[in-house]
């Protein structure tokens, strides 16, 4: 039984989301290929829902994967590749929204909510203590 549990845990630990990269897309240079994989994981497959182009089997995602690798091979930096895509498809194509004035609410909101909740909790506790002492 123990062995089964350990085996199951190992399987879960090593199961990563399957990549859709085809063998003929892979770059010869391992370092460049690693960069391409990192980058394509952050680019949204626009015709799928909530999938990166690294995971998606859609032909559109394959086109974008090829484009990213082409630009990297041509000497573009990661930022340049992202800018290239954003210029054509908008920031919408990035899976992780960039930090900026227009996305400030998105980034600040969780912390603001957490602070508000903590504040409410502290106030509540103080009130309870005051009631006990009275």
């Amino acid at each position: 039984m123990m062995r089964f549990v350990v085996c199951l845990m190992m399987c879960l630990m090593f199961s990563l989301p399957a990549a859709a990269v085809l063998p003929d897309e892979v770059l010869g240079d391992p370092a460049l290929e690693a960069r391409a994989r990192m980058l394509t994981r952050e680019i949204k497959c626009l015709v799928c829902q909530g999938e990166s182009i690294d995971e998606s089997n859609a032909p559109f995602a394959a086109d974008l994967r090829r484009l990213v690798r082409q630009r990297l091979s041509a000497g573009d930096s990661d930022v340049q590749v992202k800018d290239y895509l954003v210029a054509r498809y908008g920031e919408y194509i990035l899976l992780r929204p960039q930090l900026g004035v227009h996305t400030l609410i998105l980034w600040v909101m969780p912390f603001a909510l957490l602070a508000a909740a903590a504040g409410a909790l502290v106030r509540h506790q103080r009130r309870m203590r005051a009631k006990e002492e009275a």
Binding site: L46, V47, P59, F60, D63, L67, V86, R88, Y89, Y92
Partner: protein
């Protein structure tokens, strides 16, 4: 008042979700190409000078794309309208298949470019066919994703009419 706060929050959130559900659908990417010059990257079979003057409707289509046949009558209407020229870009398609398809559904195109590997489409920010751009003097003034319809034609495209320079006509 504080007693009703949870209820109010629930009702508010339900409202937000209801609006998103009823009006939403798949999110549309923003039109970043608007007000920008049409991409300069050449498309095989299409003379770039054709795109730079007057109003030009650039339609990305394919013979394997079923909805494309649906909007063909609208493109044929535009091709006959004064102040419009219509060009097509065949997306991931074979020239023979395109010729056959145009014979069958009518050919509104002054010229047809061939984008066999989909590279030009990526350059234009296209993510599927059909997709239509309206250029006025080489600048993108309108973009429509999906099948063209009567209202889009009347409200968004027809007001953009502008003839090409005299020597081009």
């Amino acid at each position: 008042m504080a007693r009703f706060l949870p209820l109010l929050i629930t009702v508010f959130l339900a409202g937000v979700f209801a609006v998103a559900l009823l009006t939403g659908g798949a999110p549309q990417p923003p039109d970043v190409m608007l007000s920008r010059p049409a991409p300069a990257a050449p498309i095989s079979g299409l003379d770039d000078r054709l795109l730079r003057t007057g109003t030009v409707v650039v339609n990305f289509f394919a013979s394997w794309c079923a909805p494309c046949a649906e909007e063909q009558p609208h493109l044929l209407t535009l091709a006959k309208t004064k102040g419009f020229r219509v060009v097509g870009v065949a997306y991931k398609d074979k020239p023979a298949a395109i010729a056959r398809w145009l014979e069958q559904h009518g050919n509104p195109f002054l010229a047809v470019g061939h984008d066999q590997d989909g590279a030009a489409a990526l350059e234009w920010g296209v993510y599927g066919v059909p997709e239509t751009y309206v250029l006025v003097d080489g600048v993108v003034r309108y973009r429509h994703v999906g099948v063209l319809d009567e209202n889009t034609l009347k409200d968004a495209i027809l007001p953009l009419a502008k003839p090409a320079l005299p020597e081009e006509q």
